[in-house]
Symmetry: C2
């Protein structure tokens, strides 16, 4: 049998007891005949512990040194898991980012993987060892330590599967797979057996926290079959695969929500060409990611310009916009942090009309006002008052999924 | 002014508060015009915390993975200290063992430094940065992470000073320097302004814990001036230097003790050539270090063969000796863990006779029985009953040092 890449998240290695359980799980897979490369995150809580040490020293810690600090978390985890495997009699070898040589660009804290040298991994596999690779970390061409950002171990695992041409990448986590909605909100949410890369990307970008979006983009680019499943419950999870014809039958695969955005509105701005550039240029320069934008021109030649940014950045964005106000001649700016983005996602939308109309109707029936709308080929997102989030999720899930799509 | 290597031990970086103090100290030295390479140990307690995690998994953890685990401690420390320096506006850069490229052999847990590449350090110094190097760690030629053993950061610092041809190596620690005896035992112990490498080696091997013995050997080999001083009190400490003529005037530079040995005696062994090899061969094979050996032949052709080993190894040594008993025809074996080794050290002994006689006389006057004696050119060690340790230290210190050598 071929090569499998497995990834275990922080909660899977949170305690020594769990590390031992994971080691036993890995040993069984190895005994069953698979070659195994295992990617591990830092023990849950460790990254935050290290970050808070850094913040005791500096409000905005230097990016290079922060990466050196954080990378130590995965180093501890790979060493302990390798020790646990050897204790079970299973030959194993830990490899850090610089040892594998996972080469990235030098964007500290959010580096992108450029290349993975497979030499040492293949040597080690040939020697019958389970190779335990530190997730989340790499080195730039000058051997500086870099990290891939939150959830980066998912990306490490998928990238390793791609570069090693593995049969599949198994992402072990504390949920059983990808669900049609957050089961904490929609009690009748169902686990999906399969989901297309595109749908998963849209879900990840609209609030689902199961997988980091860059890892899914990587999987899509290299067509890596990804299996998201539970570390603790031994059942099939959700497979991320290429879109195929059968998927078109399902109108909506999932409903998601995101409460981490804030909305800014520039009031009654005289509408003229170049306005958007004037407003969004300085925001982009400050590395603030703008998600949705709408602009409504009124008869009097002015317009209200509304957009959303991550809630954590809204004060910075407000300060920037306030400086722009005189130049664009706006009457003022209004901030609303009490909003939620609710999205429905499904490749079936490509071939079926009417999903948007039905979504608006379902929300309208509950008296939920839609403040902003944004659509892609396979997703419709609306911004609503945050207090209606759970209600909106439930009625949309009922309408599109719970009752087989009948309203 | 030239280059200074400074080393800060675990207690100097035990808390964020102390790391900030150390950063301020470094910044001042830099402002005073020195080029600085700073070597840091793991925060005090961290190495033991990591070790206990490993021991929760395995009684005898795999050596390679244990080194990967432990090396993370210094990684955290260099990152935090570099952050603290940058927060003070002092450019700084952390470098790990593999980044400097501190190349060692592959004896995990007790690796020896073979070579240090100075390229990156010199680049960084040229850019005006303080270079913060992780102590205790290196890589073998295949990029496996190795550690240098307990106290290895001292060795890292001295080796860096040697390879970089630094003006001096400052070892910052929680004591003010090297004392004529442990001030906790001899209240009138004096701080030495200077001590020769040879004396320091003898003191380190006979129980003084101020410096790791390998670091002193390294300093001697490359004639690195080493200044042992306090992190917390700003006074001159003790300089380790080459022996010079003026040192001969001092008969005894220091008195030390070591309670970490155990004594084994093979009783009434028929004395014949090859006996010692038969007894000590298997012990050496088990990597147990034998310190003192004495053998007294009696008239009946048998001999009592006595030797000391580290207390931690005495059970293993006993098991080995018991297997050898029939072959050497010994009557039995006796173990004594309740012993102490007390030593007087001084280069003056080379040119002055009578130190041993005076030592025995002083101990005899107190009724302290001498069980074993071992001498080198500049040291006399005796093994005594452990309960007399402090008494022996005090009377010897009084006799040789406290009263200017007058009894």
């Amino acid at each position: 049998m071929g090569l499998l890449v497995q990834k275990y998240g922080g909660t899977s290695v949170q305690t020594i007891e769990r590390i031992k359980q994971v080691a036993e799980k890995i040993r069984r897979a190895k005994v069953a005949g698979r070659d195994l490369v295992v990617v591990v995150s830092a023990m849950a809580g460790e990254t935050n512990r290290l970050l808070s040490l850094a913040h005791e020293i500096s409000e905005i810690p230097d990016e290079r040194e922060k990466d050196v600090l954080l990378a130590s978390g995965e180093q501890v985890a790979v060493a302990l898991l390798s020790l646990a495997l050897k204790e079970l009699g299973q030959p194993a070898r830990s490899l850090l980012g610089h040892q594998v040589r996972i080469e990235t660009d030098n964007a500290y804290g959010k580096a992108c993987i450029r290349n993975i040298d497979s030499t040492k991994i293949l040597q080690s596999l040939k020697a019958g060892e389970v190779v335990v690779v530190a997730g989340f970390q790499g080195v730039d061409e000058d051997d500086n330590i870099t990290t891939l950002g939150r959830g980066g171990s998912d990306t490490s695992a998928v990238a390793l599967a791609a570069f090693l041409n593995a049969d599949a990448c198994e992402i072990y986590t504390d949920v059983e797979g990808v669900f049609t909605a957050d089961p904490g909100i929609c009690t009748d949410a169902k686990k999906l057996a399969r989901i297309s890369y595109e749908e998963m990307i849209e879900l990840a970008s609209s609030g689902s926290k199961v997988l980091e979006i860059r890892s899914v983009e990587f999987a899509k680019k290299f067509s890596v079959p990804v299996h998201v499943r539970s570390t603790f419950v031994d059942v099939e999870g959700t497979w991320l695969v290429k879109e195929d014809a059968s998927m078109d039958d399902v109108l909506v695969s999932g409903v998601s929500c995101d409460k981490n955005e804030a909305k800014l509105t520039l009031l009654r701005v005289p509408d003229r060409p170049g306005l958007a550039a004037q407003v969004f240029g300085p925001i982009a320069d400050a590395h603030i990611v703008v998600d949705m934008i709408i602009q409504n021109a009124s008869d009097d030649g002015t317009t209200d310009l509304t957009f959303t940014v991550p809630k954590a950045d809204h004060k910075k964005a407000l300060a920037i916009v306030e400086k722009t106000l005189p130049a664009v001649n706006a009457q003022g700016v209004k901030v609303d942090t009490d909003i939620a983005k609710v999205s429905v996602v499904g490749v079936g939308m490509r071939t079926h009309a009417g999903v948007a109309a039905k979504m608006f109707e379902v929300l309208g029936r509950e008296g939920i006002n839609i403040e902003m709308i944004s659509t892609s080929e396979i997703k419709i997102s609306v911004v609503i008052d945050a207090k209606y989030t759970e209600l909106a999720m439930r009625v949309l899930h009922d309408a599109f999924i719970g009752n087989q799509g009948n309203v």
